[in-house]
């Protein structure tokens, strides 16, 4: 960073001569220190997972949740400064509620991502504020069936106008990642935080955009998510961690369209498989080393 110390990093709303906002870049640094978060979008739904570093033995296990429910069908996980994330989630909940108040129906994942992207970006514009020290992953499942308007009575017309275009798909899973700059894209698989490089490499191997995404079931996605968090965790540098995972399926799936914590049994099974996969990887590597020595 050539411009460090030249004064262009002291405030938001001042570009450096080479067109950078240093405050935003420093915020990204804050994210890079946080525990790894990932999201996987497959055909049946979305899985969110986070590596929760245990900062003290006095913390109650499985308490202090890091993945937040925003609306029935929406969840957010984030890496970086946790208080910033909490505020971000508060705002997301307000947005979801305001949407319901005006439109009497749940907010779409894309709409929420757009609103929250706009909110994040606003914090890069002014002297008086600093950018969010988080990168957030927003996951949701927009209902593919016609949801009743909140509080509506009756079923509406059974024929005639107001119908849908046959054969066209509506709703479905959505996954978005919002960065401190306010930049957001939709993803098949998203990773952020300390272990993002390793996690991204693993996510790419799943080939979610291609046939991999078509064939991956939600349960497999849960297991992959657990494995990726374990792969991304650096045993040597970091303390122990807890794995927190949530998922969202469609109305026919296991969560019935709701954002829920992954059931304990499934999570533990996923963790067992993740550990096993890691061990066998290690053995392979050791095997290679042996051969090299020969």
């Amino acid at each position: 960073m050539t411009s460090i110390g030249t004064g262009y990093d002291l405030a938001n709303s001042i570009f450096s001569p080479d067109g950078r906002n240093f405050q935003v870049e420093y915020a990204v640094k804050a994210v890079e220190n946080g525990g790894t978060s990932i999201g996987i979008r497959c055909k049946e739904g979305v899985v969110l997972a986070v590596e929760k570093i245990i900062t003290s033995k006095l913390l109650k296990p499985n308490a202090n949740k890091r993945i937040a429910t925003v609306d029935r069908h929406l969840g957010i996980v984030y890496s970086g400064m946790i208080p910033d994330g909490r505020h971000f989630v508060d705002r997301a909940r307000d947005e979801a509620r305001a949407w319901r108040d005006t439109f009497k129906s749940p907010i779409g994942t894309a709409d929420l991502a757009s609103r929250m992207g706009g909110y994040m970006q606003a914090y890069t514009l002014y002297q008086s504020v600093r950018p969010f020290g988080i990168t957030a992953i927003v996951g949701g499942y927009d209902p593919s069936v016609d949801l009743p308007v909140d509080g509506e009575v009756g079923r509406g017309p059974s024929c005639g106008a107001g119908g849908k275009i046959p054969g066209k798909n509506f709703g479905g899973p959505g996954l978005y990642m919002i960065e401190p700059s306010g930049l957001y894209w939709g993803y098949y698989g998203a990773a952020t935080g300390k272990g993002r490089q390793a996690a991204k490499a693993e996510l790419e191997k799943l080939d979610l955009a291609g046939p991999g995404g078509e064939s991956l079931t939600l349960e497999q996605a849960v297991k992959e998510a657990a494995r990726i968090i374990y792969v991304a965790h650096d045993d040597n540098k970091d303390k122990d961690f807890e794995l927190e995972m949530t998922w969202i399926s469609g109305p026919e799936g296991p969560t019935k369209g709701l954002h829920q914590e992954v059931p304990r049994a499934l999570r533990e099974e996923a963790e067992r498989l993740a550990k096993k996969a890691l061990e066998s990887d290690d053995e392979e590597e050791e095997g290679k080393d042996d051969k090299m020595e020969e």
Binding site: R72, D150, G151, E261
Partner: protein
């Protein structure tokens, strides 16, 4: 200097005439429901040994006009409770939205991150893995207390929600719970409850089967459903603002099941021939 700040900085009266201060007053008078408009008739419910059965027909009347015939007046809450609404339908919609927000709020802190019921599936709603009162979420008893306070506050501000409401589910001791609250905030419980005409026509029938809590604790689910169906039939026979299509909800520890397209079967109108004093017959 004029002692009224409102008068400061205005054009001089002696030059421009008296100042029109009407904009200082808010334009709309305070509004409140003075009477119900589109209404739903009876809601009935009875406890049985493992839970509660509730029913209400699918009609919303506009006076004597059968205006909407596919109205859902039983609403699930957090897949552990059912709320049945009699009275004004728009106030019911308001309450339903309010309860939706409440359910989402509950999900923020819930251990399992569950955001409650999906009121989406049109025919039946059920959830199996949710036992009542899990994760310290609001149970039916808590919900009833909340609604009572809400209704009472609205009556105190002379802006009542024109409903009588039945709440069914489980209490903190995991016992079947059934209670009522009306537009004045009057709240009570009983082994069986009915609103509107149901209080006159259905309640005596239900009390034959569940006069006391002990009686109710001996009823099976099948018996309770049968009694409720029978009561819905009696109500359809005699309540002119009722319909033969109705919703039936069963709350048990396994969750809430609501079927919204029940039809009254085996009706007999033989008694109608003996009715005199209406229509064309003279004797």
């Amino acid at each position: 200097m004029d002692h009224r700040p409102q008068a400061w900085g205005r054009p001089r009266d002696d030059v421009y005439g008296p100042y029109d201060a009407s904009y200082l007053h808010t334009s709309m008078p305070k509004t409140a429901t003075q009477s119900p408009i589109v209404t739903g008739t009876s809601v009935i419910a009875i406890k049985f040994k493992d839970g509660v059965v509730m029913a209400a027909d699918n009609l919303a009347s506009y006076g004597s006009l059968a205006r909407f015939t596919d109205v859902k007046r039983l609403r699930p809450f957090l897949s552990t409770s059912v709320v049945g609404f009699g009275g004004d339908v728009s106030d019911m919609q308001f309450l339903d939205r309010h309860l939706t927000e409440l359910a989402i709020d509950e999900a923020y802190e819930a251990e399992g991150c569950s955001a409650g019921d999906v009121s989406s599936s049109p025919s039946s709603t059920s959830s199996s893995d949710s036992s009542p009162n899990k994760n310290g979420q609001l149970n039916a008893s808590n919900l009833h207390k909340y609604l009572t306070k809400l209704m009472y506050r609205r009556r105190n501000s002379f802006d009542p929600l024109w409903n009588q409401i039945l709440v069914a589910g489980f209490d903190s001791a995991s016992q079947p719970f059934l209670a009522s609250v009306d537009l004045r905030g009057t709240a009570f419980t009983s082994p069986s409850l009915a609103t509107g005409y149901g209080a006159m026509l259905a309640q005596p029938i239900m009390r034959k089967y569940a006069a006391t809590e002990e009686d109710a604790a001996r009823l099976t689910r099948e018996e309770a459903v049968k009694v409720v169906r029978e009561c819905m039939k009696v109500l359809f026979y005699r309540d002119a603002r009722s319909l033969d299509r109705f919703s039936l909800a069963v709350v048990t520890k396994d969750g809430v099941e609501i079927s919204e397209d029940e039809v009254l079967e085996e009706q007999s109108w033989a008694f109608a021939e003996r009715i005199r004093g209406y229509g064309t017959q003279t004797v």
